[in-house]
């Protein structure tokens, strides 16, 4: 299943957004334009369906409806999210459409919650489930989505499964390395920090080994001196570790565990694991961080190669990036580029193929990096040179 479209209204940076998606999405924009918030809207759906999750969990985790609503939203204070899923990019009607609209409820001495105003599910263009809370009744019925309840989502379990399989990767090396981070991150399924090791630990041993073979092929080239990366469990405590052997002057090589790994090595292992593991939509947050530019240059292509799975299904990958090297790849389609630009009100998002300027650059042979990076560069950045020291 593919996510072919997202529509957001009054959602964080986006007052009104409608974006089609392709095999990959390279989301590019200035700082604070909403790149991560775009991924977060997708993760919101995942939070609704995941175990111990749910609509209220998804809202609360983001600090309440007030934090989700677009800052520039005025009268229309409902946040709306709609997602289309299809089997192929050429489907006339999406296989599935899911729309959820909600606003803030409660406050005062009551706990502040999200209140569903509308929930609509369509299959091949026909409504198969809908609810409209036209009078904004604050009853419990309107605090849970049909999607999150096993009884009510029977007819559209495919949507539920799609969102459940979404993976998000943003490895923070400091968190993996720090033993204390276990406390900070436990309970979060996202691949923040420590959970990368947990995810590896949960994997079937044979599969894990075959992933590590692939990872090692890559690491041997990318990380000088690294001989082999292995997954090990501490025999006493059962705590999972990564262990690497380096080619050094010592005859048997020197072993290191993740605490001693460089930021780059940890990020790279996380990136490779995410690419190899799973078949659901993969969301990658700035995969270029901490990595050498020669490696970043290969990332777009590496993703393309491994997004086609054994069963021929396609795994979509959406990426936020600031990297010239990542985008300096002539194999990136203009409809895989998503450019964000901010105005005083909100952020405008466009597909590269819809922007004449970007099309013109690509048509004349410029790389996507050349076409897109100046397009989203902050205006008047030279003013930085004018800042006074005191």
């Amino acid at each position: 299943m593919l996510m072919t479209k997202i529509i957001l209204k009054n959602w964080k940076n986006f007052q009104d957004l409608e974006l089609p998606f392709r095999e990959r999405a390279f989301i590019v924009g200035p700082n604070a334009s909403g790149k991560s918030n775009l991924l977060d809207a997708i993760r919101f759906m995942r939070d609704i369906v995941k175990q111990a999750g749910g609509f209220q969990y998804a809202v609360a985790r983001r600090g309440g409806v007030a934090k989700i609503r677009c800052l520039s939203a005025r009268q229309d204070s409902n946040a709306t999210l709609e997602i289309h899923l299809s089997h192929s990019f050429s489907d006339v009607h999406p296989e599935w459409q899911y729309r959820l609209s909600f606003r803030h409820a409660g406050g005062g001495i009551r706990r502040s919650e999200g209140l569903i105003l509308e929930e609509v599910i369509c299959k091949q263009g026909e409504i198969i489930g809908e609810r409209h809370n036209t009078d904004s009744i604050e009853e419990d019925d309107w605090k849970f989505t049909l999607l999150e309840q096993p009884v009510s989502n029977k007819k559209f379990r495919e949507i539920y499964d799609f969102f459940k399989d979404i993976q998000y990767l943003h490895v923070v090396p400091q968190l993996i390395r720090e033993a204390d981070s276990y406390v900070l991150t436990s309970g979060r399924e996202d691949f923040y920090g420590r959970n990368l090791l947990e995810a590896m630990a949960k994997k079937n041993a044979n599969t894990r080994e075959s992933y590590f073979n692939r990872i090692n092929q890559f690491l041997k080239i990318a990380v000088p001196q690294l001989e082999e990366m292995k997954f090990v469990s501490d025999q006493k405590t059962g705590i999972p570790h990564l262990q690497a052997t380096y080619k050094h002057w010592r005859a048997k090589g020197a072993k290191q565990q993740e605490k001693q790994f460089s930021d780059g090595t940890l990020r790279l292992v996380g990136f490779l694991w995410a690419i190899l593991d799973g078949s659901g939509l993969l969301l990658l947050e700035e995969p270029e961080l901490y990595l050498h530019s020669a490696i970043i240059k290969q990332m777009a292509e590496y993703i393309a190669r491994f997004q086609r799975k054994r069963d021929k299904s396609l795994r979509q990958v959406f990426i936020t990036t600031h990297s010239y090297e990542l985008l300096d790849n002539q194999g990136i389609g203009s409809d895989e580029l998503i450019v964000l630009r901010t105005d005083s009100e909100s952020t405008q998002a466009q597909i590269g193929s819809e922007v004449k300027e970007i099309r013109d650059y690509l048509d004349k042979g410029f790389s996507p990096a050349e076409a897109v990076i100046p397009y989203v560069a902050p205006k008047q950045v030279e003013q930085l040179s004018l800042l006074k020291e005191d």
Partner: protein, 204 residues
Amino acid sequence: MDFIIVGEDIATREIIKRLISQYCSHAAILREEPARGSEIQAQIRRYNMLAESYPIFVLTDEDGECPPNKIQSWFGGDIIAPQMLFRVAVDEAESWLLADHSGFSNYFRIANEEIPLSAVRGNEKEVSFSIRYKTSLFIMLELVPKSRSASVREQLTPRNRAHKGPAYNSAMVPFIINKWNPEMARQNSSSLDRAIIRLLEFCS
């Protein structure tokens, strides 16, 4: 009219922007390029194609190649598009800054007579130097040490093997934006003078 401007470094792009704002004030800046340095020569023929649809102002250094040769080798015989404004500053774009003799002297607090003026290059009135440095290095290695301002010396004196002072742009950009007087400078630099004439034609 919205220009795409192309210059090797921040100072060069600021010079272009300053000229556009002064001599073509109705024009805006669409984009600043290239996305990363040292790409101009590699991209110039693409820019030339792009200039069929967009006005483009490219300013580049001479790099020891006289402009006609440079055009020949860079454009490979392509016809330069009417909307392509391709200018080569004598020696380096910084020579256009130095050509505003009194402005430069006052701003960087370097005595007037230290700054070479109208030295002869062929028959042209150009600031040129019978020295082994490029203009920017001449500024940093010969002129800056004579500045009476400690902060100018600090910002513009290159550290070990560096090509520029540690805060080169922070020193140059405010000068280019606020103090540089192209009208004065063009009297001492024929390459700047010609560039301004072309820009005026372009924008009229």
